[in-house]
């Protein structure tokens, strides 16, 4: 990480003042409509999201990185990490439909697919199939160009 450059300057203070005013406008709006925004519930989800992300998900990513570096051969590591990122994104956006919590017996047009887990499994199979193919093609390319030329690409 490069050293942090000094903050300040005209743009910093102008945008800082404008942005702060907009934040205050938003917070005031939340409080003025407290009957609907229920600040206690809002704050639980706002702060909860931060805590889950900073102290659960991101450490989990770091841990996954350690596991990958232990288990996956050096040459395949970057590709596997990329595939993990794509898989994680698909899983993340699928969570709400996977739980099926929004299903409503009187409105079957909500969550019309009866098997979102199956759909997700197919998508993940495609991601990892393509990943395996990429790794195979690369491994072949490395073999034909000789084992002693690591910079061939």
């Amino acid at each position: 990480m490069s050293p942090r450059r000094a903050l300040g300057g005209r743009a910093f203070w102008i945008l800082g003042a404008v942005g702060t005013a907009v934040i205050v406008f938003g917070l005031a709006g939340l409080l003025r409509n407290a009957a609907q925004t229920v600040p206690s519930s809002w704050a639980t989800f706002f702060v909860g999201g931060l805590l889950v992300s900073d102290f659960l998900v991101l450490p989990g990513v770091a841990l996954a990185g350690v596991v990958v570096s232990r288990l996956v051969p050096r040459a395949a590591r970057a590709t596997v990490q990329g595939a993990l990122l794509v898989s994680a994104a698909l899983i993340l956006i699928a969570i709400p439909v996977l739980t099926g919590r929004g299903r409503n017996p009187n409105n079957p047009s909500i969550l019309p697919d009866s098997d979102y887990a199956g759909e997700l499994a197919i998508l993940l199979a495609i991601v990892w199939g393509v990943t395996a193919l990429l790794l195979l093609v690369r491994a072949r390319a490395r073999r034909t160009s000789g084992p002693r030329s690591p910079t061939s690409r």
């Binding site: 490069s2 702060t20 925004t37 702060v47 991101l58 990513v61 970057a78 439909v97 909500i110």
Partner: protein, 389 residues
Amino acid sequence: MLEERLAPLQRGPLRPGAFSSRLHAERVATVLGIALGVTFTTCFLTGLISHFAQHPLEIGFLSMPASPAGLYRVTQGVHVASGIASIPLLAAKLWAVYPRLFAFPPVENLVHAFERALIPFLTGGAIFMLSTVLLNTARWYPWGFNFTVAHYWTAWIVIGALIVHIGAKLAVAGPALRQPRGERSREMQGDGLSRRGLFVAAGTAVAAVTLTTVGQTFRPLKDLARLAPRRPDAGPQGIPVNKSAVGAQVVDAARDADWALEVGGRVARPLRLSLAQLGELPQREAHLPIACVEGWSAAARWRGVAVGTLLEMAGAEPGAEVVVHSLQERGSYRSSRLNVAHARHPDTLLALQINGETLHVDHGYPARLIAPNRPGVQQTKWVARLEVV
């Protein structure tokens, strides 16, 4: 020196070099930050369009136009798609800047304290917006607040924090981007993802989440929309439904043989028309989309009586607005207001048919409003009364 006195506190993640991934780099944060700046600004502006379509300002020229008919379908489709695209971008960005959470010393001076104090509004706000909206589109509400109102006001907080953040990063991002390729800071050695590798992976993730959801509004890709909470052709008569007749508790009232449409308010001749009488009036057909705020849309061929025809029969003034009342007794969307442009547009219909069939009760039988360029929640179903105001 203060720093030396604090040094024993630098343990665990506060240790220098605690984060070894070479993706915790300025350039990664900058490029992902710019991408997020674009998607978030797009979300904010298209969100404002949707908000002011539903809660018009009392400023005439800002009121929602009635054409182009598919405009709202596009702006809201883009709104939801750019929100979904932001999810992998935000995940990668949070990873890139994660070590800064443990910067040591936590605060260097007042300016730095100001910048850091506002960061939780940006990260917390972004996480809040994207996670709650994702649950909302799948109709999962594990919280106690009204989603729409909280979504709107939190958007202002996030965009304000983004403005502060841009001010703080301009001095860093500009030079980092203008560097010619050869002069860029040398990337750390490593065998994990490189910077470019991360950009490729994040781009692929954006493509993946977009392609598997955008078909809920962009019909050519409907068969790819495997993870979308909606299909544009799944629902009664091949069109999705936001609120069913059972959910709205209108089944009996809608099927009542004595149903009649009332046209009242500021009119010269109040009307009361039975379904048969409506069917005998001149019918008009319009091809219009239902475009839901939640990001799905579907077009259909609607047939019914133009609202303008009814207003003329009742002798309403040409500049009058109209409030459309549903049979619903509860719910925030049981009425909607037509501005002058919408009220008088020839394609604004009190529809009796969809794609050549009598409306399904879930689509608003006996009569529903359908108008061009309008959020779906304002296409009032089970219409009971047009009130000229």
